[in-house]
């Protein structure tokens, strides 16, 4: 009898090509197996630093993405009304010359009339550079609606952040606390890390209204009420202060806690006190006298008072010891019993201080002190959008960093570790550039870190210079721009009108936008003359997404296996705490359609427009294509997109001239490069001279940049001062009170905007979304395997509400928010905050999109919460409609959503439903094997 498996040693494939996954921003290394030139199997690359061989559900089914019937096939030009989906296929020549003919006049007269926004773009340093060469101030990627609170909160406090820019010391941490994370960008590393903690029996605590995924495996779960993490964290800080369980030595040496806060009434009040040389100073405990903060051997005194000016530390103590922060005072609002808050504080202190670790690694700090060991506080934290997607998210992120700091758990063994090129203080970042000059490039990068009102992107008349109003008084620290406001503002002509909207990889007519129906209306709205209010829309997608129908010109991209990409240190690299890393994608297969990699298309377009940087003086192309750019583009002398194998012979790391052989070396190495941090430099990086020297050598900055953590934020205080009436640059009056409140230089908590009102208006329930681990936003649904796993979503309702409303399986609920109503299927969830409902993000699809059957579950019963969320809050007493964003960064407050629910009984489809989206590709039938 034959076994059916007679030969067990059949070779998997003819050839393996190693590149980088693209189903999310995690950027895992993959081996792509080819049989007869076709992709046959994809598995993780074991030697890759990000994923170490593992893949997630999306990565492991990447083949279904590559063979998706929804792939666009050729450039398209709109022929019917916008939104009707009437397109004709055109040649690339026509597509590119059309785009050039639209953009050329703009560049020559008013470059700001091009707004270029990108979604989950992994080439932001390139797309941003292109926009800079074009000269428009209107460029940003999607970070503004994603997690800029996390990024900015971190940079302004510790010079690094959560998101994917740091990670717990997975090897040493004994207690890991996770705030508001479902999946994160660092998907596989977090999973690998959790697995390692579990294997060691280390403790994991999940703080999240919803107990699923990572929070389901957490040893303890605190089902917090949304928007109240700041309260909880400040209460933990209160407990630690109260008990004196704080790392005073760490605070004194490495933070601005010992700096003095100017107490003199006037324009300097609340700024850090400076000496005659404009340098901040401390009181040296050895002498009791002022001394430079970074002076050799100086021992800063936390408790000093100098001429009536008190240290930051004293301000901290005063604030956080106050009774309003006691667990008993916050427990009800947070939905967590006071006893559990105290228990958590106790556990943090116990692990940080009683279970401290020490590694025998001598090092030298920036004051010249030699330390024989590194003392570790094995408590680590991670947080993401659960904290950041609230209108108090920036301050909450700061509060969390403060908690880490007082435990001495940042950049110490066992704590939270930053990944090069971080740490990097605010001062080492650029500030925003925004002045459009016809025919000229922008003078510098668009995005950056504002230090004070004088760096806001305002025009001479005080109006916002950018279409998204980033870096305006409404969002002073909007370091990632405000993509979610771009369409609404362009439609409203506020602050001005634009001509062309260039979008890349962002499904703005569906799951990426707030109030999706309104956005679709804005995209198709016409003025009195019958012309579109947003005159031109160019879009690059790889698939038949909902957004495609709303563009005038479609530039079809390749799939991730068919193009070059560069994951650069200039952008969002793949570093680890002990190594800077970057990587590439390269065409492991050739496209079988008339599509082109968007970056190469941008370069081509740039040459047609004569953009400097990509055009030679004779008008020819400086770079043949994106691959050529990756190798030969020079940002700063010796610095290009990739750090590996630089120099003519490939022997240089970080800095060095272009190496024509660079891509081949990357490919041979599995698509990535790592520059390893020397042993002495592995921890305490902001203060560790060995690290600082290595960072300069490896090109992150030009001179060493040691700095102190900013517990007291001067940039914030500068905005408060302006709002109090100091200084020449003044905010509009209606924003003063809000700036004074939100720009507190010490972390605070205030209720999310609209929270109190919403409850009063009759929207008592919080409504959230979570990322499914097995879907990436909208594009997972075209994947034949993933859509069988998760082709429908439900609104999960906690037990108390489930029973109160008498819901039964199969029921639908009508869900109403101040800005909309949906009718959706419900299901019961027990491990859920009692005031919260939620659903998986972006499962709902528009009928006809993604090459799916019009009767697909995704379109029939699937739904989005986005219809309930608006970019503006309902009008307040004063008639103002505030934006639904964090007042510091402009981060979209997705998770501030408040609703009420009613039983709607069994239904056969969710509402709203939209007309079928006309197909730009035929419906998928069979799956290719």
């Amino acid at each position: 009898m034959t076994s059916g498996f007679s030969d067990l040693s059949v070779s998997v494939s003819d050839e393996v090509r190693s590149t980088t996954c693209y189903m999310c921003a995690c950027r895992c290394g993959i081996h792509v197996h080819l049989r007869s030139g076709r992709v046959s199997y994809i598995e993780g690359n074991r030697s890759h630093p990000v994923n170490k061989g593992v893949l997630c559900a999306k990565g492991a089914s990447g083949i279904m993405q590559v063979f998706s019937p929804s792939r666009l096939r050729a450039p398209l030009k709109r022929v019917g009304p916008r939104g009707s989906g009437a397109f004709v296929e055109i040649s690339w020549e026509e597509a590119l010359s059309t785009a050039a003919s639209w953009l050329r006049p703009l560049r020559e007269s008013a470059p700001e009339k091009l707004a270029f926004f990108t979604g989950r773009d992994q080439s932001q340093s390139f797309t941003g550079w292109w926009a800079q060469q074009f000269g428009t101030p209107n460029y940003a990627a999607h970070g503004g609606f994603c997690s800029v609170n996390m990024a900015a909160g971190g940079i302004y406090t510790i010079g690094g952040s959560f998101w994917e820019f740091g990670q717990p010391d997975w090897d040493r941490t004994k207690l890991f606390v996770l705030f508001g994370v479902a999946e994160d960008h660092d998907s596989n590393p977090i999973k690998i890390g959790l697995g390692r903690l579990k294997a060691r029996g280390a403790r994991v605590i999940g703080i999240n209204p919803i107990r699923s995924g990572y929070n389901a495996v957490a040893d303890d779960w605190l089902g917090i009420t949304p928007g109240t993490d700041g309260l909880l964290i400040l209460s933990l800080i209160h407990c630690l202060f109260e008990a004196g369980r704080i790392d005073l030595d760490y605070l004194a040496r490495w933070t601005n806690a010992p700096l003095l806060v100017n107490a003199t009434e006037g324009a300097e009040k609340g700024l850090i006190l400076r000496n005659a040389e404009s340098q901040p100073f401390v009181i040296d405990r050895r002498t009791g006298q002022p001394a430079p903060w970074d002076g050799p051997g100086v021992e800063p005194d936390l408790g000093a008072t100098y001429q009536g000016h008190r240290t930051v530390f004293q301000h901290m103590a005063e604030r956080y010891l106050a009774a309003e922060h006691a667990p008993e005072a916050v427990a009800e609002r947070c939905g967590i019993p006071a006893g559990r808050i105290r228990a958590l504080a106790a556990e943090l202190a116990d692990v940080a201080f009683n279970q401290a670790i020490e590694i025998a690694q001598p090092w030298t700090d920036f004051r010249g002190n030699r330390h024989e060991t590194m003392v570790g506080r094995p408590v680590s934290f991670h947080a993401m959008r659960g904290i950041s997607a609230h209108s108090n998210g920036f301050q909450t992120a700061r509060a969390l960093h403060l908690l880490q700091i007082i435990l001495g758990a940042v950049e110490t063994p066992g704590g939270y570790r930053l990944k090069p090129p971080y740490p990097k203080p605010v001062e080492a970042h650029p500030s925003p550039h925004f002045t459009a000059v016809p025919g000229q490039p922008l003078s510098g990068p668009h995005l950056g870190y504002v230090r004070g009102p004088e760096q806001l992107a305002l025009k001479a008349d005080g109006s916002p210079a950018r279409i998204d109003k980033a870096f305006s008084w409404e969002a002073p620290f909007s370091a990632h721009g405000l993509m979610h406001m771009a369409i609404a503002n362009a439609h409203a002509g506020d602050p001005y009108r634009i001509d062309t909207l260039l979008l890349y990889m962002a499904n703005m007519a569906w799951n990426s936008s707030m109030n999706t129906s309104q956005v679709m209306a804005m995209l198709t709205d016409r003025d009195a003359s019958g012309a579109y209010v947003i005159p031109r829309i160019i879009y690059s997608d790889a698939y038949a997404s909902e957004m495609v129908a709303y563009a005038d010109l479609i530039l079809p991209d390749t799939t991730y296996l068919e193009r070059h990409d560069c994951i650069s240190l200039l952008d969002r690299p793949i570093s680890e705490p002990e190594a800077a890393g970057d990587s590439i994608r390269w065409p492991v297969i050739e496209p079988d359609r008339d599509v082109r990699g968007f970056q190469s298309v941008l370069l081509d377009l740039g040459v047609r427009l004569g953009l400097p940087g990509m055009t030679n003086p004779d008008g020819t192309a400086k770079f043949a294509d994106y691959a050529d750019y990756i190798v030969n583009h020079i940002r700063r002398p010796g610095v290009g997109p990739l750090i590996g194998w630089r120099g003519a012979d490939g022997s240089k790391e970080g800095r060095g001239e272009a190496n024509p052989d660079q891509l081949r070396r990357y490919i041979e190495n599995g698509g990535f490069y790592q520059a390893h941090v020397p042993a002495e430099a592995r921890f305490m990086k902001p203060w560790n001279m060995a690290y600082q020297d290595w960072a300069v050598k490896t090109s992150f900055y030009e001179t060493p940049q040691p700095y102190l953590f900013s517990i007291w934020s001067e940039p914030m205080r500068r905005f408060q001062l302006a709002a109090e009436g100091h200084g020449a640059i003044q905010p509009p009056d209606h924003l003063r009170a809000r700036l004074i409140r939100a720009m507190d230089p010490l972390p605070i908590w205030y209720p999310p905007f609209g929270d109190d009102e919403a409850a009063g208006w009759g929207y008592p329930v919080h409504a959230l979304t979570q990322r499914p681990m097995d879907m990436y936003h909208s594009w997972g649904s075209q994947n034949a395997w993933l859509r069988q796993i998760r082709g429908r979503n439900f609104l999960y309702v906690p037990t108390a509400l489930w029973e109160a409303h008498g819901f039964e399986d199969g029921d639908y609920a009508r869900v109403t928010s101040p800005s909309g109503q949906i009718t959706v299927p419900v299901a019961h969830m027990a491990a859920l905050n009692p005031h919260t409902v939620w659903t998986w993000n972006a499962i709902g699809k528009r009928r006809g999109a993604w090459a799916l059957d019009a009767g697909a579950h995704e379109a029939k019963e699937g739904f989005l919460l986005n219809h309930l969320i608006s970019e503006l809050l309902p009008a307040r007493g004063d008639g103002h409609r505030w934006s639904n964003s964090d007042p510091v960064t402009g981060q979209a407050a997705w998770f501030d959503l408040r609703v009420r629910i009613e039983k709607a009984g069994p239904q056969d489809r969710s509402l709203p439903q939209f007309p079928d989206l006309p197909r730009v590709v035929p419906q998928g039938r069979e799956r290719r094997r």
Partner: protein
């Protein structure tokens, strides 16, 4: 289970067929009047063979690869399905000379081949028993995994066989017995899943923590397990269907047999009517048998 027509037909038809064949085979040894040679014998045996073979053929419609059905003969040592293949074929072969003899009046039954009759009858019984064991062996379906399942199948075969071969008295007794058994199985069956003690808690082992319920299904599209094994009958229909099955399969035929015995109605008409009702009842019972199967795998999906 999804109550597939092919399996229902298979078990009902082959059960009746092998029951009839058994009666025909053993009849002469019990002194029952043999069917008259010629047309009567042809029709009788033909009906038996027709039902048995028709049932077996119906079962192949359930197969993904009927062309490989011959392989089902290979595993008689362990597989009841394989054993059923053997016994059914053996029955059909062993009884063939007897049938031929009856039809063509070869008189073989008076010679040694006559001994094949009871052997065939025994094999026919064995066939029905093996069929029943296909279901009774499945611990995964507590409703089936029970000592009553073989008697139930055999009871149907006996009642159907007796009916079809005109053994009114035997049919009456068999029908009464079957009715009682059915009634008891219908009642007892409802408790067997609970008695088996499997739940989502034991299926997952999470009963060691507490009470387990489903949060999310592993897939939102249906799969083979759900369409094949997790069929749920609307509870409100079940009592009606049970009553219908019992009435059609046993009460009506038994009443007709009693009337016929009492001479109140002509026996041929009674038999025809009774057999029809019985077959309809058997189909109803079998539909319930499969539809109500309650496989333990349903616990994983929270469907039990």
């Amino acid at each position: 289970m999804h109550p597939a027509a092919s399996v229902i037909l298979f078990t009902v038809l082959s059960g009746m067929g092998f029951g009839l064949l058994a009666c025909l085979g053993i009849g002469p040894w019990l002194g029952w009047p043999a069917p008259a040679p010629g047309l009567a014998a042809f029709l009788h045996w033909g009906l038996g063979y027709g039902l048995a073979v028709g049932g077996l053929l119906a079962s192949t419609f359930h197969l993904g690869h009927p062309e490989r059905a011959w392989r089902a003969f290979t595993q008689w040592r362990s597989s009841w399905l394989s054993r059923e293949a053997w016994t059914s074929v053996a029955t059909l072969l062993v009884l063939a000379p007897v049938a031929l003899s009856d039809w063509l009046d070869l008189g073989w039954s008076r010679g040694w081949p006559g001994a094949l009759g009871p052997i065939g009858a025994g094999l026919a019984g064995l066939t029905v028993f093996t069929t029943s064991m296909i279901y009774a062996q499945l611990k995964t379906v507590p409703r089936w995994h029970h000592a009553s399942t073989p008697p139930l199948f055999l009871g149907f075969a006996l009642a159907g066989g007796a009916l079809l071969c005109g053994q009114t008295a035997l049919a009456l007794i068999a029908l009464i017995g079957l009715g009682l058994l059915m009634a008891w199985v219908f009642t007892d069956g409802e408790h067997r899943f609970a008695r088996a003690g499997q739940s989502l808690g034991t299926a997952t082992g999470l009963n060691r923590i507490g009470k387990v319920t489903v949060f999310e299904a592993p897939h939102t599209s249906p799969n083979y397990l759900m369409t094949e094994m997790i069929h749920q009958v609307a509870r409100s229909h079940v009592p009606k269907l049970k009553a219908l099955a019992l009435t059609l399969a046993t009460v009506i035929p038994a009443a007709l047999m009693a009337l016929s015995l009492a001479g109140a109605i002509p026996s041929l008409a009674a038999t025809a009517l009774a057999a029809t009702a019985h077959a309809a009842g058997a189909i109803t019972q079998r539909w319930l048998f499969f539809a109500q199967a309650e496989h333990v795998v349903a616990t994983f999906y929270g469907k039990h």
